[in-house]
Protein backbone atom coordinates (compact mmCIF):
# COMPACT_ATOMS: atom_id res chain seq x y z
CA UNK A 1 0.00 0.00 0.00
CA UNK A 2 1.55 3.26 -1.08
CA UNK A 3 1.45 6.50 0.89
CA UNK A 4 -0.72 8.13 -1.73
CA UNK A 5 -3.61 5.73 -1.14
CA UNK A 6 -3.50 5.90 2.71
CA UNK A 7 -6.67 7.44 4.01
CA UNK A 8 -6.28 10.94 5.39
CA UNK A 9 -6.08 11.34 9.16
CA UNK A 10 -9.32 12.93 10.28
CA UNK A 11 -8.76 15.51 13.01
CA UNK A 12 -11.41 17.02 15.23
CA UNK A 13 -10.73 20.19 17.23
CA UNK A 14 -12.65 20.29 20.49
CA UNK A 15 -11.43 23.37 22.28
CA UNK A 16 -13.68 25.69 24.23
CA UNK A 17 -11.65 28.78 23.35
CA UNK A 18 -13.19 29.76 20.02
CA UNK A 19 -10.24 31.93 19.00
CA UNK A 20 -7.70 29.19 19.64
CA UNK A 21 -9.85 26.60 17.87
CA UNK A 22 -10.14 28.90 14.87
CA UNK A 23 -6.38 29.44 14.67
CA UNK A 24 -5.66 25.72 14.95
CA UNK A 25 -8.24 24.92 12.32
CA UNK A 26 -6.78 27.39 9.85
CA UNK A 27 -3.23 26.10 10.49
CA UNK A 28 -4.27 22.46 9.95
CA UNK A 29 -6.32 23.27 6.92
CA UNK A 30 -4.40 22.33 3.78
CA UNK A 31 -1.80 20.08 5.44
CA UNK A 32 -1.28 17.03 3.17
CA UNK A 33 -2.42 13.69 4.62
CA UNK A 34 -4.88 15.08 7.11
CA UNK A 35 -8.15 16.91 7.08
CA UNK A 36 -10.52 18.41 9.60
CA UNK A 37 -13.55 16.36 10.63
CA UNK A 38 -16.90 17.48 9.34
CA UNK A 39 -19.50 18.22 12.01
CA UNK A 40 -20.53 14.91 13.61
CA UNK A 41 -17.93 12.89 11.69
CA UNK A 42 -15.95 10.32 13.69
CA UNK A 43 -12.36 11.56 13.94
CA UNK A 44 -9.12 9.57 14.09
CA UNK A 45 -7.53 12.14 16.39
CA UNK A 46 -9.12 14.82 18.55
CA UNK A 47 -7.24 17.89 19.74
CA UNK A 48 -8.33 19.03 23.17
CA UNK A 49 -7.02 21.83 25.35
CA UNK A 50 -4.69 20.84 28.17
CA UNK A 51 -7.22 22.32 30.58
CA UNK A 52 -10.39 20.28 30.89
CA UNK A 53 -12.91 20.96 28.18
CA UNK A 54 -15.49 23.50 29.19
CA UNK A 55 -18.58 23.58 27.02
CA UNK A 56 -19.40 26.99 25.63
CA UNK A 57 -21.89 29.01 27.62
CA UNK A 58 -25.43 28.61 26.33
CA UNK A 59 -25.93 32.39 26.30
CA UNK A 60 -22.85 33.36 24.31
CA UNK A 61 -21.17 34.34 27.53
CA UNK A 62 -17.66 32.98 27.46
CA UNK A 63 -15.65 33.68 30.59
CA UNK A 64 -12.34 32.18 31.58
CA UNK A 65 -12.23 30.19 34.85
CA UNK A 66 -10.32 33.08 36.43
CA UNK A 67 -12.97 35.56 35.34
CA UNK A 68 -15.64 33.35 36.89
CA UNK A 69 -13.69 33.41 40.17
CA UNK A 70 -13.51 37.19 39.93
CA UNK A 71 -17.22 37.46 39.08
CA UNK A 72 -18.20 35.45 42.16
CA UNK A 73 -16.07 37.72 44.35
CA UNK A 74 -17.47 40.85 42.71
CA UNK A 75 -20.95 39.53 43.46
CA UNK A 76 -19.93 39.36 47.11
CA UNK A 77 -18.90 43.00 46.87
CA UNK A 78 -15.18 42.32 47.16
CA UNK A 79 -12.66 45.10 46.55
CA UNK A 80 -9.73 44.64 44.17
CA UNK A 81 -7.52 44.14 47.21
CA UNK A 82 -9.80 41.40 48.56
CA UNK A 83 -9.99 39.72 45.16
CA UNK A 84 -6.19 39.78 44.96
CA UNK A 85 -5.68 38.24 48.39
CA UNK A 86 -8.43 35.64 47.94
CA UNK A 87 -7.06 34.49 44.58
CA UNK A 88 -3.39 34.85 45.52
CA UNK A 89 -2.64 37.36 42.76
CA UNK A 90 -1.40 40.95 42.74
CA UNK A 91 -3.81 43.87 42.95
CA UNK A 92 -2.63 44.89 39.50
CA UNK A 93 -3.58 41.47 38.07
CA UNK A 94 -6.89 41.55 39.92
CA UNK A 95 -7.64 44.92 38.32
CA UNK A 96 -6.75 43.46 34.92
CA UNK A 97 -9.21 40.58 35.37
CA UNK A 98 -11.94 42.88 36.65
CA UNK A 99 -11.39 45.16 33.66
CA UNK A 100 -11.59 42.39 31.08
CA UNK A 101 -14.61 40.92 32.83
CA UNK A 102 -16.42 44.27 32.82
CA UNK A 103 -15.48 44.68 29.17
CA UNK A 104 -17.00 41.30 28.28
CA UNK A 105 -20.15 41.89 30.31
CA UNK A 106 -20.52 45.29 28.74
CA UNK A 107 -20.01 43.94 25.21
CA UNK A 108 -22.66 41.26 25.70
CA UNK A 109 -25.05 43.70 27.39
CA UNK A 110 -25.35 41.46 30.43
CA UNK A 111 -26.85 43.27 33.35
CA UNK A 112 -27.60 40.18 35.42
CA UNK A 113 -23.98 39.17 35.84
CA UNK A 114 -24.45 38.73 39.56
CA UNK A 115 -27.31 36.32 39.02
CA UNK A 116 -25.12 34.52 36.52
CA UNK A 117 -22.32 34.22 39.06
CA UNK A 118 -24.80 32.97 41.64
CA UNK A 119 -26.02 30.24 39.30
CA UNK A 120 -22.47 29.13 38.58
CA UNK A 121 -21.11 28.71 42.06
CA UNK A 122 -21.13 29.42 45.73
CA UNK A 123 -21.58 33.00 46.88
CA UNK A 124 -20.49 33.90 50.39
CA UNK A 125 -22.96 36.24 52.02
Amino acid sequence: MSKETSPAIVIAVEIGDAGLADRLASLLDGVAGLRLAAPGEAATVTIVARESHRPAEPHGFDLTPRELDVLALLAEGASNKTIASRLGISVHTAKFHVGSLLDKLDATGRTDAVAHAARRGVIHL
Partner: protein, 291 residues
Amino acid sequence: MTDPTTDILASFSSAVADLVAKAAPAIVSVHSHHARASGFVWKPGLIVTADEALAEEGEISIKLADGTARAATIAGRDHTTDIALLRFDATEIVPAKLSPVLPAPGSLAVVVAAARGTPSAALGVVSLAGGGWRSLRGGDIDARVELDVRLHHSQQGGLALDASGEAVGMAVLGPRRVLVIPTATIDRVAGRLETHGRIARGYLGVGLQAVKLDDGVGAMVMSVDKSGPSAAAGIRQGDVIAGWNGEKLAGVRQLLRSLGPDSVGSVVELLIRRGGEPLRFKLTIGERPET
Protein backbone atom coordinates in the same frame (compact mmCIF):
# COMPACT_ATOMS: atom_id res chain seq x y z
CA MET B 1 -16.22 93.65 9.57
CA THR B 2 -15.30 90.70 11.74
CA ASP B 3 -16.32 87.20 10.81
CA PRO B 4 -19.26 86.30 13.14
CA THR B 5 -18.03 82.70 13.25
CA THR B 6 -14.81 83.85 14.84
CA ASP B 7 -16.72 85.78 17.49
CA ILE B 8 -18.91 82.82 18.36
CA LEU B 9 -15.96 80.46 18.65
CA ALA B 10 -13.91 82.93 20.63
CA SER B 11 -16.71 83.62 23.10
CA PHE B 12 -17.52 79.92 23.39
CA SER B 13 -13.85 79.20 24.02
CA SER B 14 -13.46 81.85 26.70
CA ALA B 15 -16.74 80.78 28.33
CA VAL B 16 -15.39 77.22 28.70
CA ALA B 17 -12.03 78.53 29.95
CA ASP B 18 -13.90 80.66 32.52
CA LEU B 19 -15.80 77.63 33.81
CA VAL B 20 -12.54 75.74 34.27
CA ALA B 21 -10.82 78.69 35.96
CA LYS B 22 -13.74 79.15 38.37
CA ALA B 23 -13.81 75.48 39.37
CA ALA B 24 -10.04 74.96 39.50
CA PRO B 25 -9.29 76.30 43.03
CA ALA B 26 -11.26 73.45 44.60
CA ILE B 27 -9.57 70.78 42.45
CA VAL B 28 -6.52 68.88 43.65
CA SER B 29 -4.28 66.23 42.18
CA VAL B 30 -3.95 63.03 44.20
CA HIS B 31 -0.75 61.03 44.22
CA SER B 32 -0.68 57.59 45.84
CA HIS B 33 2.04 55.05 45.22
CA HIS B 34 2.32 55.00 41.40
CA ALA B 35 -1.25 56.14 40.85
CA ARG B 36 -2.19 59.67 39.89
CA ALA B 37 -5.73 60.94 40.03
CA SER B 38 -7.76 64.07 40.66
CA GLY B 39 -10.09 65.03 43.44
CA PHE B 40 -12.03 67.98 44.73
CA VAL B 41 -12.52 69.63 48.09
CA TRP B 42 -15.92 68.39 49.22
CA LYS B 43 -15.98 69.97 52.69
CA PRO B 44 -13.29 71.93 54.55
CA GLY B 45 -10.41 69.51 55.11
CA LEU B 46 -12.06 66.71 53.11
CA ILE B 47 -11.39 65.63 49.54
CA VAL B 48 -13.48 63.29 47.40
CA THR B 49 -11.59 61.26 44.81
CA ALA B 50 -12.09 58.13 42.67
CA ASP B 51 -11.50 55.00 44.73
CA GLU B 52 -10.48 52.98 41.67
CA ALA B 53 -7.66 55.45 40.96
CA LEU B 54 -6.31 55.36 44.51
CA ALA B 55 -3.52 52.92 45.37
CA GLU B 56 -4.42 50.17 47.84
CA GLU B 57 -1.50 50.96 50.11
CA GLY B 58 1.12 53.56 50.84
CA GLU B 59 1.15 57.25 51.52
CA ILE B 60 -1.06 59.77 49.80
CA SER B 61 -0.05 63.27 48.89
CA ILE B 62 -2.18 65.92 47.27
CA LYS B 63 -1.23 68.99 45.35
CA LEU B 64 -3.47 72.00 45.69
CA ALA B 65 -4.34 74.48 42.96
CA ASP B 66 -1.80 76.93 44.42
CA GLY B 67 0.94 74.37 43.78
CA THR B 68 1.59 73.39 47.40
CA ALA B 69 1.73 69.72 48.35
CA ARG B 70 0.08 68.28 51.46
CA ALA B 71 -0.11 64.86 53.04
CA ALA B 72 -3.54 63.25 53.11
CA THR B 73 -5.01 60.28 54.95
CA ILE B 74 -7.89 58.02 53.99
CA ALA B 75 -11.09 58.84 55.86
CA GLY B 76 -12.87 55.98 54.12
CA ARG B 77 -13.32 54.34 50.75
CA ASP B 78 -16.23 52.61 49.05
CA HIS B 79 -15.31 50.56 46.01
CA THR B 80 -18.97 49.83 45.23
CA THR B 81 -19.61 53.47 44.28
CA ASP B 82 -15.99 54.38 43.42
CA ILE B 83 -15.91 57.09 46.09
CA ALA B 84 -12.95 57.64 48.42
CA LEU B 85 -12.75 60.35 51.06
CA LEU B 86 -9.42 61.88 52.11
CA ARG B 87 -8.55 64.16 55.00
CA PHE B 88 -5.95 66.90 54.77
CA ASP B 89 -4.96 69.70 57.06
CA ALA B 90 -5.92 72.80 55.08
CA THR B 91 -9.36 74.16 55.83
CA GLU B 92 -9.05 77.50 54.03
CA ILE B 93 -9.92 76.15 50.57
CA VAL B 94 -13.51 76.83 49.58
CA PRO B 95 -15.20 73.49 48.81
CA ALA B 96 -16.68 72.83 45.39
CA LYS B 97 -20.40 73.57 45.29
CA LEU B 98 -22.21 70.47 44.08
CA SER B 99 -25.52 70.73 42.26
CA PRO B 100 -28.28 68.11 42.48
CA VAL B 101 -29.30 68.92 38.90
CA LEU B 102 -29.29 65.94 36.54
CA PRO B 103 -27.77 67.08 33.22
CA ALA B 104 -29.82 66.57 30.04
CA PRO B 105 -28.52 64.19 27.39
CA GLY B 106 -26.78 66.12 24.63
CA SER B 107 -25.91 69.05 26.89
CA LEU B 108 -22.30 70.15 27.18
CA ALA B 109 -20.13 68.74 29.90
CA VAL B 110 -16.75 70.05 31.05
CA VAL B 111 -14.54 67.92 33.25
CA VAL B 112 -12.15 69.88 35.44
CA ALA B 113 -9.29 67.85 36.86
CA ALA B 114 -5.66 68.42 37.80
CA ALA B 115 -2.31 66.93 36.90
CA ARG B 116 0.47 67.57 39.43
CA GLY B 117 -1.35 70.59 40.73
CA THR B 118 -2.04 72.10 37.32
CA PRO B 119 -5.66 72.31 36.11
CA SER B 120 -6.63 70.05 33.21
CA ALA B 121 -9.89 69.99 31.30
CA ALA B 122 -11.95 67.84 28.95
CA LEU B 123 -15.00 68.85 26.93
CA GLY B 124 -17.81 66.74 25.55
CA VAL B 125 -21.51 66.06 25.82
CA VAL B 126 -23.67 64.13 28.21
CA SER B 127 -24.27 61.00 26.15
CA LEU B 128 -26.74 59.36 28.52
CA ALA B 129 -28.72 60.47 31.54
CA GLY B 130 -30.97 57.93 33.20
CA GLY B 131 -32.27 56.68 36.49
CA GLY B 132 -30.56 55.03 39.40
CA TRP B 133 -28.53 51.87 38.89
CA ARG B 134 -26.54 49.33 40.84
CA SER B 135 -22.86 48.78 40.14
CA LEU B 136 -21.55 45.26 39.60
CA ARG B 137 -20.11 45.35 43.11
CA GLY B 138 -23.52 46.22 44.51
CA GLY B 139 -23.26 49.98 45.02
CA ASP B 140 -26.40 52.10 44.65
CA ILE B 141 -25.74 55.00 42.29
CA ASP B 142 -28.53 57.55 42.11
CA ALA B 143 -28.39 58.30 38.36
CA ARG B 144 -26.79 56.82 35.29
CA VAL B 145 -24.86 59.64 33.64
CA GLU B 146 -22.36 58.94 30.87
CA LEU B 147 -20.13 61.49 29.17
CA ASP B 148 -18.79 61.45 25.65
CA VAL B 149 -15.38 62.81 26.61
CA ARG B 150 -11.88 61.45 26.56
CA LEU B 151 -10.76 61.16 30.14
CA HIS B 152 -7.15 60.56 31.05
CA HIS B 153 -6.45 58.27 33.99
CA SER B 154 -5.15 61.19 36.01
CA GLN B 155 -8.46 63.01 35.45
CA GLN B 156 -10.48 60.40 37.33
CA GLY B 157 -12.01 62.08 40.36
CA GLY B 158 -12.34 65.44 38.61
CA LEU B 159 -15.55 67.45 38.67
CA ALA B 160 -18.08 67.23 35.85
CA LEU B 161 -19.63 70.63 35.16
CA ASP B 162 -22.65 71.54 33.08
CA ALA B 163 -22.67 74.53 30.72
CA SER B 164 -23.61 76.93 33.50
CA GLY B 165 -20.65 75.79 35.58
CA GLU B 166 -22.67 73.77 38.08
CA ALA B 167 -20.82 70.68 39.32
CA VAL B 168 -23.11 67.70 38.68
CA GLY B 169 -20.79 65.00 40.02
CA MET B 170 -17.43 63.27 39.84
CA ALA B 171 -16.04 61.97 36.54
CA VAL B 172 -14.68 58.42 36.66
CA LEU B 173 -13.63 55.80 34.14
CA GLY B 174 -16.10 52.96 33.78
CA PRO B 175 -15.69 50.04 31.39
CA ARG B 176 -15.26 51.65 27.95
CA ARG B 177 -17.01 54.82 29.03
CA VAL B 178 -16.80 57.83 31.23
CA LEU B 179 -19.32 57.85 34.06
CA VAL B 180 -20.43 60.59 36.41
CA ILE B 181 -20.99 59.65 40.03
CA PRO B 182 -23.83 62.07 40.76
CA THR B 183 -23.98 64.59 43.59
CA ALA B 184 -26.65 62.68 45.54
CA THR B 185 -24.45 59.58 45.66
CA ILE B 186 -21.35 61.57 46.65
CA ASP B 187 -23.14 63.36 49.49
CA ARG B 188 -24.69 60.15 50.79
CA VAL B 189 -21.58 57.96 50.56
CA ALA B 190 -18.97 60.57 51.51
CA GLY B 191 -21.20 61.66 54.40
CA ARG B 192 -21.28 58.11 55.69
CA LEU B 193 -17.53 57.67 55.17
CA GLU B 194 -16.93 60.90 57.12
CA THR B 195 -18.87 59.69 60.15
CA HIS B 196 -18.41 55.90 59.99
CA GLY B 197 -15.18 55.50 58.00
CA ARG B 198 -16.74 52.76 55.89
CA ILE B 199 -19.85 51.60 54.08
CA ALA B 200 -20.99 48.56 55.98
CA ARG B 201 -22.42 45.50 54.25
CA GLY B 202 -24.76 43.00 55.80
CA TYR B 203 -23.41 39.55 56.56
CA LEU B 204 -25.12 36.20 56.94
CA GLY B 205 -21.98 34.10 57.26
CA VAL B 206 -22.93 31.36 54.80
CA GLY B 207 -21.78 30.13 51.40
CA LEU B 208 -24.87 29.79 49.22
CA GLN B 209 -25.61 27.90 46.05
CA ALA B 210 -28.79 28.57 44.08
CA VAL B 211 -31.01 25.48 43.83
CA LYS B 212 -34.36 24.74 42.21
CA LEU B 213 -37.23 23.85 44.51
CA ASP B 214 -40.58 22.32 43.56
CA ASP B 215 -42.26 25.68 44.08
CA GLY B 216 -39.56 28.19 43.21
CA VAL B 217 -35.92 28.77 43.98
CA GLY B 218 -33.85 28.39 47.09
CA ALA B 219 -30.33 29.00 48.30
CA MET B 220 -28.60 25.95 49.72
CA VAL B 221 -26.17 26.49 52.57
CA MET B 222 -22.90 24.99 51.39
CA SER B 223 -20.75 26.29 54.22
CA VAL B 224 -21.30 28.06 57.52
CA ASP B 225 -18.97 30.59 59.14
CA LYS B 226 -18.77 29.17 62.68
CA SER B 227 -18.61 32.62 64.24
CA GLY B 228 -21.14 34.23 61.87
CA PRO B 229 -24.78 35.27 62.34
CA SER B 230 -26.22 32.16 60.64
CA ALA B 231 -24.33 29.80 62.94
CA ALA B 232 -25.59 31.79 65.93
CA ALA B 233 -29.15 31.45 64.61
CA GLY B 234 -28.81 27.66 64.37
CA ILE B 235 -28.55 27.33 60.59
CA ARG B 236 -26.61 24.30 59.41
CA GLN B 237 -24.81 23.13 56.33
CA GLY B 238 -27.31 21.58 53.92
CA ASP B 239 -30.22 23.80 54.94
CA VAL B 240 -32.04 25.49 52.07
CA ILE B 241 -33.18 29.09 52.45
CA ALA B 242 -36.61 29.24 50.81
CA GLY B 243 -38.08 32.41 52.25
CA TRP B 244 -37.04 35.79 53.64
CA ASN B 245 -39.29 37.83 55.98
CA GLY B 246 -42.43 35.97 54.98
CA GLU B 247 -41.81 36.11 51.24
CA LYS B 248 -40.62 33.41 48.89
CA LEU B 249 -37.02 33.78 47.85
CA ALA B 250 -36.68 35.29 44.35
CA GLY B 251 -32.99 34.44 43.99
CA VAL B 252 -29.56 34.91 45.44
CA ARG B 253 -29.46 38.41 43.96
CA GLN B 254 -32.45 39.37 46.11
CA LEU B 255 -30.43 38.31 49.15
CA LEU B 256 -27.57 40.54 48.00
CA ARG B 257 -29.97 43.49 47.74
CA SER B 258 -31.26 42.82 51.22
CA LEU B 259 -27.78 43.14 52.70
CA GLY B 260 -27.19 46.87 52.19
CA PRO B 261 -25.59 49.23 54.76
CA ASP B 262 -28.86 49.69 56.66
CA SER B 263 -29.46 45.96 57.07
CA VAL B 264 -26.72 45.52 59.69
CA GLY B 265 -28.25 44.78 63.08
CA SER B 266 -31.76 44.12 61.76
CA VAL B 267 -33.55 40.85 62.47
CA VAL B 268 -34.92 38.78 59.61
CA GLU B 269 -37.05 35.67 59.63
CA LEU B 270 -35.76 32.93 57.39
CA LEU B 271 -37.86 30.08 56.10
CA ILE B 272 -35.55 27.07 55.92
CA ARG B 273 -36.08 23.62 54.44
CA ARG B 274 -34.12 21.07 56.40
CA GLY B 275 -34.45 17.57 54.96
CA GLY B 276 -37.60 18.83 53.24
CA GLU B 277 -39.19 20.00 56.51
CA PRO B 278 -39.98 23.71 56.86
CA LEU B 279 -38.38 25.50 59.81
CA ARG B 280 -38.28 29.15 60.80
CA PHE B 281 -35.24 30.95 62.15
CA LYS B 282 -34.70 34.48 63.40
CA LEU B 283 -31.33 35.84 62.34
CA THR B 284 -29.64 39.11 63.27
CA ILE B 285 -27.73 40.39 60.24
CA GLY B 286 -24.09 41.05 61.08
CA GLU B 287 -21.51 43.28 59.43
CA ARG B 288 -19.38 41.72 56.75
CA PRO B 289 -15.75 41.57 57.85
CA GLU B 290 -13.15 42.94 55.41
CA THR B 291 -10.96 40.05 54.31
